[in-house]
Amino acid sequence: MPSPEPAGSRLARYFTDFPDRRYIMFGGKGGLGKTTFSAATAYHLARRGYKVLVFSVDPQASLSDIFQRDIFGRGPVEIVPGLFAQEIDADQRIRAYQQEIRQKILDMYGFDRVPEEIEHYIAAASAEPAMEESAIFDQVVDIVVTGGYDYFIYDLVPLGHALYYLSMASVYDEWIERITRLREEMQQYAEMAARMKGEQLQEDLILAELQDIRRRITISSSILTDAARTAFFFVIIPEEMALLDTRKAAQLFAKFQVPISGYIVNRVLPETLAQQDIPEYLRRRLQMQRGHLEEIRTLFGGEVLAYVPEFERDVTGLAMIERMADAMFGGNGRGPATD
């Protein structure tokens, strides 16, 4: 049996106990319900009067599908009072970036159109595999640095890519540090040369720009790995294969020093079904689930913050999101219909 306290109350308490943790992430393998949890958590916090932004950094984002509204690439959209949702369109961001480069070239050289050669280079640069991640990352930094919400909920990409994403901050930081050092050295030479010529040196705009990027990234990455401001919940389900993968995943996250705040167990079949006339597949799944729940308690026992029941249908639309929020945080306790 799951914990004797009412479902979800520990998770609700986590939020009241740690009011400073305003950056919320759900991690784990694909297909376990991360997006659903992100949406329901945003709904729960908004209903308690907070201003919340839930945003997706997954190129195959599903927030549009969950809220049943097309929000892809439209910036933050208010779904219900206080709940804003945003789906990042990396391609759009890349196109804007390309346009910026074109404009710079046109302004710099006074061309009326961009030479074909350069167009090719711009196209090639944008096809770099890292480009999409960079575009998304850049937008996330924007969102976090701009602020303006009480809570930020990241709907992370499936595990492997979440790790890239988390490692990105340090990668960027290192890269920028290297470039900045180089620029500073160059500037010293330039200043010397300028002094010898007796001229005033203009402020190095590029260096300033680089340092600005660096400042932004430092803000964003420090948030990601700062246990005082970030809550990172790991989503698991009581199935053997998923548990195997979770063990692998937890090790990977430890490598990136992502502090795990706790585990949320999703898709727990209501035990009351066992006393009813249920099909064989369900009876067997219930039996297996008991074993896996036992295993989960052994592995993560005290760190499980909520056992979330399996619903009788998938979670899309506000009515279902509300039920999910209730199941996760206690709410009015309307779980799935089991009678």
Binding site: Q60, I66, P129, P158, Y164, D277, Y281
Partner: protein
């Protein structure tokens, strides 16, 4: 006791051309990819397809390109890092790609090339910093995965390859990139050739020297181009998308399919997984189960509208988790019904 499984009643109408018909009609089909949102059962379907094809007596390699692999879990044996014979199934091998080797090898190769280039350009700098920045980018592992996949394909040791792919848009991006890569390499090649002829003009010896960097670029371009040709050849390749009768997975593969059409990657069809049999519902079935069945049937209509004529199989929700070859056999029977 093992119940015999058939296609779930009421869902047959979705399947105009079955998986079996499509595969039988494509005797040259060699590369099968299984994709879709996380958690829909891609690994299980890829495993079942590989098993079915191996049972026809063909030499089959089942490959996982996921950053977090689950083939070893599915087959209940360790298949990480090398092609491993699957116990109890003659002519089937399984392989979870280990990108660490590829990444290390790429780093070494890049370092050699940069070293050579720096020497060539008479720059006295250590290559390490360049290598670090070239290989530390987050997409590097992704590219390494793609490289390893191409390696496996080009070694050509099997008759059929079945890929369990990552639940991301990377396949489309990497393939879409190959055209741009080719263009970029072409440019590099041109400028290298110019530099080379200039150097020849200026040098006394007039002898041709080797240019490993240029050779590498040309090799790379040819590899990517060859891979693109294979992956866009509808006689050789088919992508199958797995979905559940639920909103999110349907939405994801709808997007995927339109991307794939854009890049000319052949879509083999859609497999619907996790369907609860209507026949299991009786007078006394609890509301919980009944509601699930009703919700699924609403999505059946949506699948019919979204993927007309593309559904190849409907696979019921199994009463146990699918692990190990015996259960996989049963999935294969339904998949190739």
């Amino acid at each position: 006791m093992v119940q015999q499984l058939t296609r779930p009643a009421g869902w047959e109408a979705l399947v105009e051309r079955s998986m079996r018909q499509v595969v039988d009609a494509m005797p040259t089909l060699k590369y099968l990819y299984f994709g879709g949102k996380g958690g829909v059962g891609k690994t299980v379907m890829a495993g079942a397809a590989a098993l079915a094809l191996a049972r026809q007596g063909r030499r089959v390699l089942l490959v996982s390109t996921n950053p977090v692999h689950s083939l070893s879990g599915l087959l209940d044996q360790d298949v990480f890092g090398r092609a491993t014979p699957v116990a109890g199934v003659p002519s089937l091998w399984a392989h979870e790609i280990d990108t660490r080797e590829t990444i290390e090898r790429s780093k070494r190769e890049i370092k050699e090339k940069i070293d050579w280039f720096l020497k060539y350009a008479e720059i006295r700098t250590r290559a390490d910093a360049f290598v670090e920045s070239a290989t530390m980018n987050p997409a590097f592992e992704e590219s390494a995965m793609f490289e390893s996949m191409i390696d496996i394909i080009f070694r050509d040791e099997y008759e059929v390859y079945v890929f369990d792919t990552a639940p991301t848009a990377n396949a489309r991006r990497l393939l879409g990139m190959s055209a741009v890569y080719a263009m970029w390499v072409q440019k590099m090649v041109r400028s290298r050739e110019e530099a080379r002829s200039l150097r020849r003009l200026l040098s006394y010896s007039k002898k041709d020297e080797a240019d490993p960097l240029l050779d590498y670029l040309l090799r790379f371009r040819d590899r990517i181009e060859a891979a693109r040709r294979l992956l866009t050849d509808s006689a050789l390749t088919a992508f199958f998308f797995v979905t559940l009768p639920e909103a999110l997975p349907i939405a994801v593969i709808r997007r995927f399919i339109s991307w794939f059409h854009e890049f000319g990657i052949p879509v083999g069809g859609v497999i619907v997984n996790g369907v609860i049999e209507r026949g299991l519902v009786t007078e006394t079935t609890p509301q919980f189960v009944l509601n699930r069945v009703i919700a699924q049937e609403a999505y059946r209509e949506e699948i019919a509208r979204a993927f007309p004529g593309m559904v190849r199989a409907v696979v019921p929700l199994f009463e146990t988790e699918v692990r190990g070859v015996p259960v996989l056999e049963r999935v294969a029977q339904v998949l190739f019904a």
